[in-house]
């Protein structure tokens, strides 16, 4: 995609989300906050799944870890935004440690290993009830200021996380790391042979894919003021995010934002009317995506332009 189109797309996306409060409708603001939340997660996944080509299903592990870390810090009296930062730090450290372990695996084994991370953290969260409240969940201190203020505050907080993730994506894409990750995606052995520090780069990509999820998870926990193991470490979330990136166009800057907002809006407008078949419709969207849109929406735009 030509770079000016990309800039216009990203600019419009940011403006659109930021302008949601103009509608004066708290429902619209809520949707925009979800768009930003999933946008941050999709941009995060893109580092490991898009650029490095590793089929990671660890997103929910990072989101869950971040939300628990943030909630626990906040309940211990740490100021809210600082506790998000701490949560991001905790998630980054955990991602580095876990990444060092699971990134030795490739392909199917990596996919299974990353799903196992979600399961393990979820089981720990429900088991360690003294710290996490177990299966009953954890209440988080509610931000004072009334619903209108809270809705706007969290919208801009999520948007700020998106902007940070975007800046990181652009820096990575232009730098050595992005080049190295694309080499790894194409042929890891060859990349290693020509001197790409593959282990270091993969761990860095995994950390980048964790840190913004951790921050977004913590912000989400403060927003909804309650977390439980099954919601925080949801397997559905862990698959939904890669699907969003595939829908937009993996390994690009704008693709994750496009895919996540398309899926969230589709979810809210079309199938909110068919609540009973919510999962089946998402499943059908996934199947259709894989058969009819293998390059994502951006790939489709490219194809249309070529044929025109």
């Amino acid at each position: 995609m030509a770079s000016h189109w990309r800039r216009i797309g990203i600019g419009l996306w940011l403006l659109g989300v930021a302008a949601a409060p103009l509608s004066g409708d708290n429902y619209v603001i809520k949707i925009a906050t979800f768009v930003a939340f999933y946008g941050a997660l999709a941009l995060s996944w893109n580092f490991i799944g898009g650029y490095a080509g590793y089929p990671s299903f660890a997103t929910a592990a990072f989101v869950g870890l971040g939300s628990y870390a943030g909630a626990l810090c906040q309940n211990a009296g740490v100021p809210m935004v600082l506790s998000w930062g701490l949560a991001a730090g905790v998630t980054a450290i955990a991602a580095a440690a876990l990444g060092f372990v699971v990134l030795r695996l490739r392909g199917h084994y990596f996919a299974i290993g990353s799903i196992a991370l979600v399961e393990i953290l979820s089981l720990i969260a429900s088991w360690w009830s003294g710290l996490t409240g177990g299966g009953e969940g954890l209440n988080v201190t509610i931000l004072p200021g009334g619903p209108v203020f809270i809705a706007r505050f969290f919208l801009y907080a999520m948007l700020a996380i998106v902007v940070l993730a975007l800046v990181a994506t652009v820096l990575v894409e232009r730098g050595r790391l992005g080049f190295g990750l694309r080499c790894i995606a194409q042929n890891e052995d060859a990349a290693e042979m020509v001197g790409v520090p593959t282990t270091l780069y993969k761990v860095l990509a995994f950390v980048l894919s964790g840190v913004f999820c951790g921050a977004a998870g913590a912000a989400y926990a403060s927003w909804v003021a309650y977390i439980a193991p099954t919601d925080a470490f949801s397997i559905l979330l862990t698959v939904k995010v890669p699907v969003m990136v595939l829908l937009g166009g993996p390994g690009t800057v704008f693709g994750p934002l496009l895919g996540s907002s398309a899926l969230v809006l589709l979810e809210e407008t079309v199938w909110a009317r068919f609540l009973e078949f919510h999962q089946a419709i998402l499943g059908a969207v996934i199947v259709a995506l894989i058969f009819f849109l293998p390059g994502g929406l951006l790939g489709l735009a490219g194809r249309v332009r070529k044929s025109a």
Partner: protein, 289 residues
């Protein structure tokens, strides 16, 4: 610790482990031959369990009689699904195939919840029990274990002895060479997927005799298949058997000593540790991917 109690816990683990082996053997076959992580596996097991329960409560058909027909229905359905849909993307990277089967799983899961519901149900046979000293073994569990082992052995026999089985193994070893030898690979893929689903089906039927079964358990069942496959090694029937029994005993002991949640955690921790130390599993061979 009391010896009789320990024996009881280990035997419970072995009975559970035989079912785990049966769950994992079909999953492992599909992974080994098609190179697909079949996220549908857990839902297929539950679907079979639901069908068995419905046949028992509505039509009074004994689970041991409906076992094979239910397995065949699921197997044929899955083979058609593979032939029509999944075969088109079978060569694609794991991200695509896993996501596709996950999408299909969501559809099936949702349909099961709306046609049936998520209420746990089971077939209560009440066959009595065997008492050996202080150790008590219910007959329904013994029967489920024996049938599970027999079906696992049957699959082993099919893979070792029949023309179909040799063709499946040939495709697993070298797809191109098998195709040059006149094996129709897409058809073998469909049959393999069907065979894997058949095993899932009979397992679901057997599980419904022993435990209450519910759509909420699809993820857990799938998790067991992951663990057994990784622990035992991929694509071999003996590997799945060893992995299943190992997981069954580990969980049973873990549950006895630390509680059920810790036992589930133990299983995943065992898997992650093995993945890192020995990615080929206990009985796996290198380069068998």
């Amino acid at each position: 610790m009391d010896v009789a109690l320990l024996v009881q816990v280990v035997l419970n683990g072995l009975m559970l482990g035989a079912l785990y082996a049966c769950i994992a053997v079909g999953f492992s076959l599909v992974w080994g031959v098609l190179n697909i992580i079949n996220m549908l596996h857990g839902s297929l097991i539950v679907l079979a369990g639901y069908l068995t329960c419905s046949l028992w409560t509505e039509a009074h058909i004994h689970p041991f009689a409906s076992l094979i027909p239910v397995g065949l229905v699921i197997g044929v359905g899955a083979a058609v699904l593979q032939f029509v849909l999944i075969n088109r993307v079978v060569q694609q990277p794991v991200l695509t195939t896993l996501t596709l089967t996950f999408g299909l799983d969501m559809i099936l899961y949702n349909l099961m919840n709306s046609v049936f519901d998520a209420t746990p149900r089971r077939v209560t046979l009440d066959l009595g029990r065997v008492t050996l000293g202080e150790v008590v073994l219910p007959w329904d569990r013994i029967a489920a274990m024996l049938v599970a082992l027999a079906l696992t052995a049957l699959l082993y026999g099919i893979l070792r002895g029949s023309r179909l089985g040799r063709a499946i193994v040939a495709v697993r070893m070298d797809r191109e060479a098998a195709s040059l030898m006149g094996i129709r690979v897409p058809r073998i893929y469909a049959l393999t997927f069907g065979l894997g689903a058949f095993m899932a089906g009979v397992c679901g039927a057997l599980l419904s005799i022993v435990y209450p079964i519910t759509t909420n358990a699809t993820g857990q069942l799938l998790g067991k298949a992951f663990i057994v496959c990784v622990v035992g090694g991929l694509g071999t029937v003996p590997g799945a058997l060893v992995g299943g029994l190992a997981l069954g005993v580990t969980e049973s002991l873990g549950s006895h000593w630390f509680g059920p949640q810790a036992a589930a955690l133990l299983g995943f921790a065992l898997m992650l540790a093995l993945l890192v130390v020995r990615p080929t599993g206990l009985l796996g061979r290198k380069g068998y991917e």
